[in-house]
Symmetry: C2
DNA sequence: TTTTATTTTTAGCCTTGACTAAAAATATAT
DNA sequence: ATATATTTTTAGTCAAGGCTAAAAATAAAA
């Protein structure tokens, strides 16, 4: 149906639209795909002719409904395969991205239908990102700082604001990494410190830690 | 490491060498890959430079040890994925070939290691073909074509030579699959057709069917 | 052994998806 | 408003992997 390159462009543009909405610039696409702006211009012209996005020279691009459908389908496949790799083959969350980048391009409706069922129709991938349904609908999730979430709420760690070795080593020591589920058990208004639960452990963290950890809450 | 096209050529050449040993001709490769002889010449010249096969103009090609290693590795991946599709995703054996043709090109040593373990290190794929080990060694099986066995002999179906959906669906209709016991009740010398017994049913099969079914005879 | 047929290769062209270098449009600063 | 900087596009190349048509080598037949 679509080439590997086309699918990768649509996916990248979808992510850019999602992150900073509005039209997506040629340069932004080039940077996110580690390619040159001139190559991007070529490709978006082709995708424009195929009605997968709207393109006007010098004005950026915007996916059409059709383009979005293709993009979310690729993302759905990527995330389902990530679940497979982690849940069934016991990969660690940080090893699966590259492999899923390849698997997401396998063409077979039936395969994905069955894979989804085999995995128990998961709603989130191992990094906490939502898996689009077969119509491309994405559950809305929000990325917040841990410091912003309330007592008794849960979140999945999706990233760090600061990435100094000291901070990362601290997280390691506390067994926190991307994908780790964190529950806020208590919150001190005076200094913003928290008591949190990670796995079976409960412990205290300072506001400084909480304001450098991104979490995704999933209602 | 190697491109999709290169892997497909090496795989096709490996199968041709295996079926009719000796040098493999340009035309034979072209036919088996449904491409043109001129395209084959181009590619085998490149593969020759990469020491994956030996090539002398007008004299056919022969895989080097290295070329065989690459080919058997692709075949190993193909067959492991077929087992996955049938055993885990409940695909039928006639639906898996096309999908495995795509999956066999996914690049990740670790993935195949883990997939193999997940599947319980199977020795045969759903069509009865042996799965090469990680060093490329193929188990030799003592199998004959049904067309080669004599009247009143019995055999167990262990695989198929051709694996087109049409053929596999025919076998299904006749309730023949891997493990099915077949008895040859009669054999017509003129056209090679047979009367066979499968379960309680007795029926007629043509030579074309008999020469595409592998069986293991049990004295 | 010629002649004819078949197989294989060469030469030249096409498409995809990259690239560089230069030109054009837009945005920013004086 | 003009000059400068930035972004985007165009034009021209390149490699991979196909193709067709024609030439060359080998094999088969007279």
């Amino acid at each position: 149906m679509f080439t590997l390159a086309e699918e990768n462009y649509l996916k990248a543009i979808f992510h850019l639209e999602h992150d900073f909405h509005g039209e997506v610039s040629t340069n932004a696409i080039a940077e996110s795909m580690e390619t040159k702006p001139s190559s991007v211009t070529d490709m978006v012209q082709k995708l424009g002719e195929k009605k997968l996005l709207t393109y006007k020279r010098y004005k950026g691009v915007k996916l059409t409904a059709e383009g979005k459908k293709v993009a979310t389908n690729v993302i759905r496949k990527h995330r389902l395969w990530e679940v497979f790799l982690v849940e069934k083959l016991n990969f660690h969350w940080d090893e699966v991205h590259e492999i899923a980048e390849q698997l997401e391009h396998i063409q077979s409706e039936e395969l994905i239908l069955r894979l989804d069922k085999f995995l128990g129709s998961p709603e989130f991938d191992p990094h906490g990102d939502p898996i689009p349904d077969k119509h491309g609908v994405l559950k809305r999730t929000e990325k917040k700082l841990l410091s912003e979430i309330d007592k008794n709420q849960k979140g999945v760690c999706v990233g760090v604001k600061e990435s100094s070795p000291e901070f990362l080593q601290y997280l390691d020591k506390k067994k926190i990494s991307i994908g780790t589920k964190i529950t806020v058990l208590g919150k001190e208004f005076f200094d913003g410190s928290m008591i949190i639960q990670v796995g079976r452990e409960q412990f205290f963290i300072s506001h400084k830690i909480a304001e450098n950890l991104y979490v995704q809450t999933q209602e």
